[in-house]
């Protein structure tokens, strides 16, 4: 079961409409927008050279493009390049999937329209970007952190050979399921051997993220449910363990049932950096 779910999550994609900021139009020779399909679990920097090529390299050979100047914006909010694309979408569009069935058209923006900027990089709000090596190094540190949370140390990642670490990164940067999961399965402990579940909770309409060492089992020795974790750490948003009253948890664009056992969910629902990134969406 895990394998098909891992593949399904891997294949999740978003349709994105990239609109060039008006002040950049002269440079692009009038090219205004690009429609592109992106992988939910991937990162925007991995698409950036393709995006910039599209706008600026059609018969414009002399133009010098500095990758670190460029950033994307949704609704006046700069997109974190170091967040998985699907996470940014889930938290910024506050998708309440429960509305989908009752309405013929879902409220979630499709395509997702983002503005591409080449000026005034918002250094106070998002990390500076120095090229693909910055993404690789960020991803590797996060992977080691997630490993530390799972095992109590980062040895499983640190002791990978250089070749295996490179294959794992190739899986990320080339969006290659087989490369990534061939190595990742050797690194991940069985669910029952997890020390804690690497989990981050993203709060709506704020920059707040909550990270705790989330226990695998409860006092009865059963796997903790998503609902009990939310009730423990965000009691105001989740006054009940069983029923979502004020907010709902969303992972990979999917509404999570409160009863979902967290640790088994982790084994297939983790992102490429080894974390479960759960968006909290207010019920509308």
């Amino acid at each position: 079961m895990e394998y098909t779910l891992r593949e399904k999550i891997w294949n999740g994609s978003l349709s994105v409409r990239i609109v060039l900021a008006p002040y950049e139009l002269a440079k692009s020779g009038g090219t205004e927008e690009l429609l592109i399909n992106v992988s939910r679990i991937s990162y925007f920097p991995l698409y950036m050279s393709r995006i910039l090529d599209f706008f600026f390299c059609q018969g414009n050979d002399g133009l010098k493009i500095n990758m670190s100047d460029w950033w994307l914006e949704f609704d006046s909010v700069p997109i974190n390049w170091n967040w998985p694309i699907g996470l940014s979408y889930d938290i910024l569009t506050s998708l309440d999937s429960s509305n989908m069935e009752s309405e013929s058209e879902s409220k979630s923006p499709n395509p997702w329209t983002l503005v591409l900027h080449g000026n005034d990089y918002p250094v106070e709000q998002i990390l500076t970007y120095t090229g693909e090596s910055a993404l690789k190094s960020f991803w590797l540190q996060q992977s080691k952190e997630a490993c530390f949370i799972r095992d109590g140390n980062s040895k499983a990642i640190l002791s990978l050979s250089k070749k295996d670490t490179d294959t794992l990164w190739d899986g990320v940067s080339q969006n290659n399921y087989k490369k990534f999961w061939t190595i990742m399965t050797t690194v991940l402990p069985n669910v029952e051997h997890l020390k804690s579940v690497p989990t981050r909770l993203y709060l709506p309409k704020s920059n707040d993220v909550l990270q705790k060492l989330v226990k695998v089992v409860n006092e009865q020795g059963e796997f903790q449910s998503v609902g009990s974790v939310l009730n423990q750490y965000l009691p105001e948003l989740f006054p009940s363990k069983r029923t979502p009253l004020i907010a709902r948890p969303v992972l990979h664009g999917i509404l999570l049932p409160m009863s979902t056992p967290l640790a088994p969910l982790y084994s297939f629902g983790l992102y490429l950096d080894g974390f479960l990134h759960i968006s909290i969406v207010i019920i509308t």
């Binding site: 974190n80 170091n82 998002i126 990390l127 500076t128 120095t130 960020f138 590797l140 540190q141 996060q142 080691k144 952190e145 490993c147 530390f148 949370i149 140390n153 980062s154 640190l158 670490t165 707040d208 993220v209 909550l210 990270q211 705790k212 060492l213």
Partner: protein, 94 residues
């Protein structure tokens, strides 16, 4: 505003901090504030604006992202109400 306690430890030949015992920092700060704090004390002023000149590690294993919240790092990795942070001037642990 919650304050958390950090103890710094030099590794890889980095100089020890002078007159700094236990450090207190607001839990709402970003981890970049911790890196900045160390840079101010360890680097000559001309190097301060270079990126990645001080490396901070938890448990000698991983570097928290500069945009993580200090409170989250503390809650996950503190021992006896103190967060131990190793630092060096060259990258260690990959």
């Amino acid at each position: 505003d919650r304050k958390i306690a950090i103890r710094f430890r030099p590794i890889g030949g980095a100089p020890a901090l002078v007159n700094v015992g236990l450090c207190r920092i607001s839990a709402n700060e970003r981890w970049s504030a911790v890196i900045k704090f160390l840079s101010r004390r360890l680097l000559p002023s001309r190097d301060r604006n270079r990126t990645e000149t001080v490396f901070c590690y938890i448990a000698n294993s991983f570097a928290p992202s500069p945009d993580s919240q200090v409170g989250n790092v503390f809650d996950s990795y503190q021992i006896d109400d103190e967060l131990m942070v190793s630092y060096c001037l060259v990258q260690a642990f990959g």
